[in-house]
Structure formats: structure tokens, C-alpha cells
């Protein structure tokens, strides 16, 4: 063996991941052949965090499972720490840490018992354990909770425990599959800190997939995946630099004007992406030329000021370019068509006072009071387990209250007659239409359930087909629709009878960034038409689309107000221009004083 070859070998061995032309084809009998991965090459080095970003179904999870040796690639080679991921699966697995989307924690075991179990499974010598446990518990701040059952931990703590279990054997490579989905902002930051610490101290390699585009900024390098291919790669900085001159922002004092500009900007073909961030409308133009910029300024009659691009802007710009070439008509919703409701602004539609919900001796929700006025978009924000959904289900009359008062349009929905519910639309957190029935049958059923018949029913179903781009799939069983279309169908079913009040429970959970934007645009349209919307979400940045919001944590209200009021809470010397997420972290850490929620709601009473 020559000297160079030996050197080559050693360098190989030091590379945590080297994949060449990896392809994976799923061909189950009776089902369509799916090419989940189409020739992906990647490398992850020591001391490096590489991010995988892309919409749902891009192949992120498949790639990670191939590298972990859980799936056998159809073609290509994957070498992990110098070993072949297919042939030496067992050897590979003993040297890597893998955290799937749902980590297999045993809910009925305590934190310590879970750690012991994974230490046993991984064969960690007993003598090494105390030091290892101490370090992990210190990193994750879980030390005070070692005797608590894993099932009783909050969403963020569960993820941290999952990460600890994945790290139990000092892995040389860490694979994380969407580790922060549904985790509160404080825990998300902590998780990233832990990863950062590990990388700098132990020089391990990390491959992490994420649905949060802002997290990609924390990676050393990012791979952007679409349809099983890596379409672009580079450092977050290089992505940002490409977009200099594409991004503008518009200052709006009035939230409604901001929403109107945002809504119109979304429909323009020269706009690649429009969002509302920190009260300002951000517009990413498809091209960098100045003429387009002037056109925009003229269209809206406002001043545009250049803004610094983010990775998210770059990603959306890429997605828009792909969309333009693929011509997917569904992604640009047809605006209009929904009858506008007369808005009686200021009329209180939903009134909640001192809401309390107990499960046994556990207070899931307590001390929640707020009003929602006609035509408002009202957000219930908070991480998983904050009590949003519990509050929401009590509003809809699906759950009995333990104390306090809930009035929706003057009724207690749990006690009132069925007629009072006829003016509501409801969209549940999980897809909750009939999977076996076709799109058309589902719409017909829900239309009839709300009293639509004959010509009116046909008109509304046709409206749903056009407005939500469902016409071509009208005969497909609802269960076979791709994720984004399911979400559209669910929303169409909720809007079919033109409700005055729309309840949306986590409509954007588990939906990729593209579909989430499309969704909020629709909600925006409905709000413009005078529909009152109550929506829960754990994506803090989505709060910008709400008129007012209640932020909750651990079943208690943290703050109530407009996005501007909430952001103002966190303004200090360090954060001159805080986001809603900054405000949540400041509130959760006690740095910001919460708004007196009872006084705030009293204004409207």
C-alpha cells in the first residue's frame, strides 16, 4: 500500500459522513413507485453542523435513516466514520447518536430509568455512567427532574431527554431529525446550545434536518432539498449574499394596512415571498433590478426600504423559482369568492373569564381571560403543552370547563342548542375528515351538515374546488391526498357554510414552510372578508398575522395584546428590534413584565 493511499484511508476514517450518489426508491406492490432520493452526494466533517432544509416529502428523513443504517439505499454508497453504512450497520450504530422525529422514550419510566435503559442498550460501562449522566443533565438542565416520569415532562423537556439518550455513548456523529418541532422557543434555543457545545468540545459531526428556516442560520453549511435532490448547498452567509438587493420592507403603523399590503404582494408574480415580521411587511422580489422595486412602491403607494436578507428569504426565493418553472397552480390561491360579511367592529364575539380546567389535580389551564371582537384574527400562542388546545376545545364546547365562563356569540356551546354552532367553522389539529370518502363526498357531507342543499350546495362545493385547487382531485379518497391538500380540504370543509367565526387548531402544524405561507394568506383573505378567526399555533412568527394574541405557557396566560404591544415588552438595550419569539423568551425567563391580562381584556368588555 502506498503512502498516499494510507493517508487517504486515514482521512476517510476521520470523515463522519461521506455519501456518494445515494438513491432510494420505494416500490411497494400495488402502490406508485416513489423516488425518495435521487442521487445525493454529501459530506459532513468533524466539528461541523450541516443542516438539511426542504419542504415535506423532500426526502430529509429518508436520507437520515439511510445514513443511520435503518434503510438500505437503492444505489450509491454511504460511508459513516470510515465504515460502510450498509455492511457494517451494527458497528456504525454503536458509534453514532440518532434522534428520530419521535424519540422512543418510555413514558412510564422516570427520566433516570430512561437514561439507564439506553445506557444498558448501548452498553455504556457502569463506571463511566455517573460522569456521563452528570454532564448530560447539566447540559440539559434536567437534573432536578430525574425522578419524574418521562410522560409528565413538557414537550421541550422530552426532546432534551431524547437528545440525552441519543448522546449517552459519546457518539462521534449525531443525526437529528427535526429535533425542535413543536418545542417552545426557550427549549429550542437550549437544544441548539447543547449541540453547539458538543461540536466545539468533542469535535463531533452533526447532521440535522429542520422545518424552522431560522435554525438553518445556526448551521455551518446547509443542504437545500427538493424532490429527493440537493438543489443547492453552501454556508448560510453565501445564501444570504445572493439575495442582497432582493429584499425590502415596508413600515406600517396600522396592522390592518400591513396585512392588506402583504395580501396583495403575495399575488404579484414579481414577488417571490412576502411576510410580516416585527410589524413590517418584508417583500422578497424575484429579481434584483430597481425597476421592479419602483413598480412595487408605486403599486402600494408606500416607501420601500432595503432590508438585510435572511436564509429564509433565500429559501423562499428558490422555492418560488421552482414553482414558477413547475407551474403548480394550487400554490397561488385564487383570492376572492368568499362572500364578505358585514363587520360590526368592536362587538365582542367571544368572551372568556377566569377559565379553569383541571384534569385530576393537574391544572391544565387557569386564569385565562380574553375577549375577541368581530372581524379580528385572534391568536392563541404557546409551545406544546401550554394549554392552548385545551382552551380551544373548551371554546368550541368539546370539553367541559372546571371553572370560569366561556361565551361564544352569547352562548355556552356546550349547553346551547345545535343551532348556535351553525355559524362556526372548525378545523381540528389533526386531519379530521373521512379518509375513505372522496373529496367531493366529504364536502357534500359537511355542506349538508350545515344545512346547505341543492343549488347552494353545488355552488359552494364548486367554490371550494376552485378556491382551494381541489377540482382535479375531487374523486380521490381524502386519505390519499398529499399533506398540503389534506389541509386545504379540511379548511374548505370548515369554510363551506361561510361561517362568521372560524376556529383553527394548529392549522400549520406539521406543514412545510411553503404550505404555511399559503395557509396564512387564506386566513388573511377570510379576515378581510369579515370572518372572525381564532387560531392556535406554536410558530411564534405566525403571531404577526394576528390582530391580537394571547401567549400562554404552562396553562397560564403570559401576555395579551397586539403584536406591537407584545414585541415592545422585550425591547431593551440588547434587543432594539425584538421579534415575537424574543418577547416569548423574555417573558418565559422573567426578563419582561407580562401585561396585566385582566386589565387588558377589561378594555373591551
Amino acid at each position: 500500500m502506498s503512502v498516499t493511499a494510507a493517508l487517504d484511508d486515514r482521512r476517510h476514517a476521520s470523515v463522519p459522513i461521506r455519501g456518494t450518489d445515494v438513491a432510494k426508491r420505494f416500490s411497494e406492490r400495488g402502490k406508485a413507485v416513489v423516488d425518495a432520493l435521487r442521487g445525493i452526494s454529501l459530506e459532513v466533517g468533524r466539528g461541523e453542523v450541516v443542516g438539511l432544509v426542504g419542504p415535506d416529502g423532500a426526502g430529509k428523513t429518508t436520507l437520515i435513516r439511510c445514513i443511520a443504517g435503518l434503510l438500505r439505499p437503492s444505489a450509491g454508497t454511504i460511508s459513516v466514520l470510515g465504515l460502510d453504512a450498509v455492511r457494517d450497520t451494527l458497528a456504525v450504530r454503536s458509534r453514532i447518536g440518532y434522534m428520530p422525529q419521535k424519540f422512543g422514550l418510555y413514558q412510564d419510566l422516570t427520566v433516570q430509568e430512561n437514561l439507564d435503559l439506553y445506557a444498558d442498550l448501548q452498553g455504556v460501562p457502569v463506571a463511566e455512567r455517573p460522569a456521563r449522566y452528570a454532564r448530560l443533565m447539566k447540559m440539559t438542565n434536567l437534573a432536578p427532574f430525574t425522578r419524574r416520569l418521562a410522560g409528565r415532562l413538557s414537550g421541550g423537556m422530552k426532546q432534551k431527554l431524547g437528545l440525552s439518550c441519543a448522546l449517552i455513548k459519546s457518539p462521534e456523529l449525531l443525526l437529528l431529525d427535526e429535533p425542535t418541532v413543536g418545542v417552545d422557543p426557550v427549549s429550542r434555543r437550549e437544544l441548539w446550545q447543547i449541540v453547539g457545545e458538543l461540536v466545539s468540545q468533542d469535535q463531533i459531526g452533526v447532521l440535522v434536518s429542520t422545518a424552522y428556516l431560522d435554525e438553518a442560520e445556526r448551521c455551518d453549511r446547509v443542504l437545500v432539498m427538493f424532490d429527493g435532490q440537493v438543489v443547492d448547498r453552501g454556508s448560510p452567509v453565501s445564501f444570504r449574499e445572493r439575495l442582497v438587493g432582493h429584499v425590502d420592507q415596508v413600515h406600517c403603523d396600522d396592522q390592518r394596512i400591513a396585512r392588506r399590503i402583504h395580501s396583495r404582494a403575495c399575488d404579484l408574480s414579481l414577488v417571490a415571498d412576502a411576510t410580516i415580521r416585527s410589524g413590517r411587511v418584508r417583500i422578497v422580489r424575484a429579481t434584483a433590478d430597481a425597476a421592479a422595486r419602483r413598480t412595487l412602491a408605486d403599486t402600494f403607494g408606500v416607501a420601500l426600504e432595503p432590508a438585510a436578507p435572511t436564509f429564509e428569504d433565500a429559501f423562499m426565493h428558490m422555492a418560488d423559482a421552482r414553482r414558477a418553472s413547475n407551474e403548480d397552480p394550487g400554490h397561488h390561491p385564487v383570492v376572492g369568492g368568499s362572500a364578505s360579511h358585514p363587520v360590526d367592529a368592536g362587538r365582542v364575539v367571544v368572551r372568556v373569564r377566569d377559565l379553569l380546567k383541571r384534569f385530576g389535580d393537574f391544572e391544565a389551564v387557569s386564569g385565562v381571560s380574553f375577549d375577541v371582537c368581530a372581524g379580528e384574527v385572534f391568536g392563541l400562542l404557546g409551545p406544546n403543552g401550554a394549554g392552548k388546545s385545551t382552551t380551544f376545545r373548551m371554546l368550541c364546547g368539546l370539553l367541559a370547563v372546571s371553572g370560569g365562563e366561556v361565551r361564544v356569540a352569547g352562548h355556552d356551546l356546550r349547553k346551547t342548542s345545535a343551532r348556535a354552532r351553525a355559524r362556526l367553522g372548525y378545523m381540528a389539529q389533526q386531519f379530521s375528515l373521512y379518509s375513505q370518502l372522496s373529496v367531493q363526498e366529504n364536502l357534500d357531507f359537511f355542506g349538508r351538515a350545515y344545512g346547505l342543499t341543492g343549488r347552494r350546495l353545488r355552488d359552494r362545493v364548486r367554490w371550494a374546488f376552485e378556491h382551494f385547487g381541489l377540482g382535479q382531485r375531487r374523486n380521490a379518497p381524502a386519505g390519499t391526498l398529499p399533506g398540503g391538500y389534506k389541509q386545504r380540504l379540511a379548511m374548505a370543509a370548515a369554510m363551506l357554510h361561510e361561517p362568521d367565526l372560524l376556529f383553527l387548531d394548529e392549522p400549520t402544524s406539521g406543514v412545510d414552510p411553503l404550505a404555511r405561507r399559503e395557509f396564512w394568506q387564506r386566513i388573511n383573505d377570510f379576515a378581510e372578508g369579515g370572518v372572525t378567526v381564532i387560531v392556535t399555533t406554536h410558530f411564534m412568527e405566525e403571531a404577526e398575522y394576528c390582530d391580537r394574541m394571547l401567549i400562554m405557557a404552562h396553562g397560564r396566560p403570559l401576555a395579551l395584546g397586539t403584536p406591537a404591544e407584545i414585541r415592545a415588552l422585550a425591547r431593551d438595550d440588547v434587543h432594539a428590534d425584538p421579534s415575537i419569539e424574543d418577547a416569548f423568551v423574555a417573558l418565559a425567563e422573567g426578563r419582561a413584565r407580562p401585561i396585566d391580562v385582566t386589565a387588558a381584556s377589561g378594555d373591551h368588555a
Binding site: G397, L398, A418, Y426, Y434, R448, A449, T453
Partner: protein, 373 residues
């Protein structure tokens, strides 16, 4: 009017859901047919073709005449003749035969001398029911033989003993198939209705669609009616189909009135729909719903008098069977099929069913809204 429209919408949806779900389709068609034929053919108390062996030490015309009677009986099947006493234990142990007839060597001589002869009948007592019935048949054959055998003292005419003449009403030939198959429609539709009803709400809960129904302007009563209709329709169709099949396939007589049959089946099925929906509204998953319905079906069948008479149960258990809807429909169906019962004759079976149906349906409707996870 609006209520009616909503109920129709829900009913259409329920029928579509059953029609489009291969598992539900199978539940409606597969098990009922299999069970009908299995029960109809296999579940019988009649003892036939009991295998027996003969150890004839006498070999006289008398012993041959006796054995010929066994040979000619439907109830017994001759397996083999034995030459030695020591062959007997192995035959019975291995269940090659269930009965051995042993005719002693003085059998013919005793008969000729007008002495009461004795024969030995050995039976396998492991299945006590079959053993005692076979023994009964054997006794009958022997008794008939000795009554007919010409006496030796020809002059002294011994008058025959007073003979008992049996007349079994409603089932003159003691065919237990009549007893089983007449009630079979009721028993089998229980399974179908129970499974359909218990899955209907549980399926919606498992897939999260029930919240969507509760938020829509359906009242609990409307949901109840919409959910009941499909199970009711399928249940009644199965029960009527099997009742017809009992008459046409198994030749069971149908003496009673069709209106009585329709009414008792309808009300019975409503009662089961109520129980099924109640189980379903308690269950959070389809698995729990199915388990719940099976836990209910077993005691219903055993405590119904379908196979074992309620009169032979201990007193406290007999009181318990008053709560069992299957008890009333089993009794009612037998009355209608075999006793030519018309509506007034079965009214005392119908009103307890109506009571059970109304209470289970009410409880189920209440639980729709009040059981929330």
C-alpha cells in the same frame, strides 16, 4: 325539516363509510353466513351414529335378533365384533367406540326359559351428555326387543304392559335443529349490529372526526339516529335473511305471524344498537370498541337460553338474564316459528326489549357529548 336533512346527510355518510371500508363490508357479510351454516349444522343436541362394538358370547338366534335392532338404528353405527373381553378397555380408551354391548352366553337360554336375561352396556362417560343419551336410546331398543320377543310359555298369554305413548308438541320429532335454527337470526344479527355500532363512534374518535361532528350543528339525538340507521338496516336485513334461510334451507316450520317477527326483531336490534353505541361512546379507539362488544356478546349468548335452558340456571343468574335482550328475542322467535305465535302472544317479550332499547339509546346519546378525553 333541517333536522331531517342533517340526519339524511349523516346516514348517507355512514352507509358510504361502511360500503367503502373492506373490513366493515366483511363484517356485514362474512361472519353471518359462516356462523349460520356452522351453527345450523354443527350445533345440535341430537346423538347420531354412536360407534359401538359387540361382544356376543351367546351367538344364539335371540342375541342376533337383538343386535340386528341396534344395527338397524340411525343412532348407532356398528364398528366391530369382539372375541375377547380384554379387547374392550383399549377400544374405549382410544375412543374407537363409545359403547360396547356385551351379551352373556346364557342370554338365549334365559329368554327361552322365561328368566329375565341380562345384557351389559359399557359406555364412555367422558362426554356425559352423549353417554346418557346413547344409554337412553339403547334402553329403548332393548325394551322394545323384550316386548316383542315371543314368550316361551305360549299358552299363558301375558298381556302387554300399559304402554306410554309420547307426543311432543311443537317439535314432534325432537329435532334440536328446530330449536337452534329458529333463534339463529336473532343471535347472529347481534354480532353484526354490535360490531357495526360499536365501531361507528370509536372509529370517528380514533381518526379525530368525532370532534368535527360535535362542533357541527348536530344534536346528540340526530347523531344517535344517523348512527343507528345503518346498523339497524344491516342488522334487520341479516336477521330476516337468516330467518328465511332457516325455513328454506333447514326446513324449520314458520307457523307464526310475519308482523310479530318484524316487530320483535326491530325492537331487539334497536336495543343492541343502543348497547353498541354505548360501548362505542366509551371507547377511545376501535380496538377498545371491538373488545367491549365481544365482552358483551359472550354473556348475552350464554345467558339467553339459546343453547342451555334458563330454568336450569341458579336463581340469582335467572334474575340477571332479565336484563339480557337476547333472552327475550330467543324466546320470542321460538314462539313465532314453532308455536304459531301472533303479535299478542309475544307482547310480553317485546315490552322488556322496548324498555332496554330506550334506556340504552338514551345513555348512548348522553355519552356522545359528555365523554371527552
Amino acid at each position: 325539516m333541517k333536522t331531517l336533512r342533517r340526519i339524511i346527510a349523516l346516514t348517507i355518510k355512514e352507509f358510504l363509510a361502511i360500503a367503502k371500508d373492506p373490513k366493515s363490508r366483511f363484517v356485514v357479510i362474512g361472519p353471518p353466513l359462516i356462523q349460520f351454516f356452522v351453527f345450523g349444522y354443527a350445533a345440535t343436541f341430537d346423538v347420531k351414529h354412536v360407534r359401538y362394538a359387540v361382544f356376543d358370547e351367546d351367538r344364539s338366534p335371540a342375541s342376533r335378533a337383538l343386535l340386528a335392532r341396534f344395527d338397524g338404528s340411525e343412532s348407532f353405527r356398528f364398528e366391530r365384533a369382539l372375541d375377547h373381553e380384554r379387547e374392550i378397555p383399549a377400544l374405549i380408551d382410544n375412543q374407537e367406540v363409545r359403547m360396547v354391548l356385551r351379551v352373556p352366553s346364557n342370554f338365549g337360554a334365559d329368554l327361552a326359559a322365561d328368566r329375565a336375561p341380562a345384557i351389559q352396556i359399557l359406555v364412555d362417560g367422558r362426554n356425559s351428555n352423549v353417554a346418557s343419551i346413547a344409554l337412553g336410546y339403547a334402553n329403548t331398543i332393548v325394551a322394545e326387543f323384550s316386548a316383542r320377543w315371543p314368550r316361551a310359555s305360549a299358552g299363558s298369554t301375558v298381556l302387554p304392559m300399559a304402554a306410554v305413548v309420547d307426543r311432543a308438541w311443537y317439535n314432534p320429532n325432537f329435532l334440536s335443529r328446530w330449536y337452534i335454527a329458529s333463534a339463529l337470526g336473532g343471535v347472529i344479527c347481534t354480532v353484526v349490529v354490535m360490531i357495526l355500532a360499536s365501531l361507528s363512534v370509536a372509529r370517528e374518535r380514533e381518526f379525530g372526526t368525532f370532534d368535527q361532528l360535535l362542533v357541527a350543528p348536530f344534536s346528540p339525538t340526530e347523531i344517535l339516529i344517523g348512527k343507528s340507521i345503518p346498523a339497524f338496516v344491516f342488522g334487520l336485513a341479516i336477521a330476516l335473511l337468516l330467518s328465511t334461510a332457516a325455513v328454506w334451507w333447514f326446513d324449520i316450520p314458520f307457523e307464526g305471524s310475519v308482523s310479530a317477527l318484524l316487530l320483535i326483531l326491530s325492537i331487539y336490534i334497536l336495543a343492541i344498537v343502543g348497547i353498541g353505541l354505548f360501548v362505542s361512546s366509551l371507547a377511545m379507539t376501535m380496538q377498545q370498541g371491538l373488545l367491549g362488544s365481544f365482552i358483551a356478546i359472550m354473556p348475552f349468548v350464554i345467558l339467553s337460553g339459546f343453547t342451555t335452558p334458563i330454568q336450569s340456571m341458579p336463581d340469582w343468574l335467572q334474575y340477571l338474564t332479565l336484563l339480557n335482550p337476547l333472552r327475550y328475542v330467543t324466546a320470542g322467535l321460538r314462539q313465532i316459528f314453532l308455536e304459531a305465535a301472533a303479535l299478542p302472544d309475544v307482547i310480553h317479550q317485546i315490552w322488556p326489549l322496548a324498555l332496554i332499547a330506550s334506556s340504552t339509546l338514551t345513555v348512548a346519546a348522553w355519552f356522545f357529548r359528555h365523554r371527552t378525553g
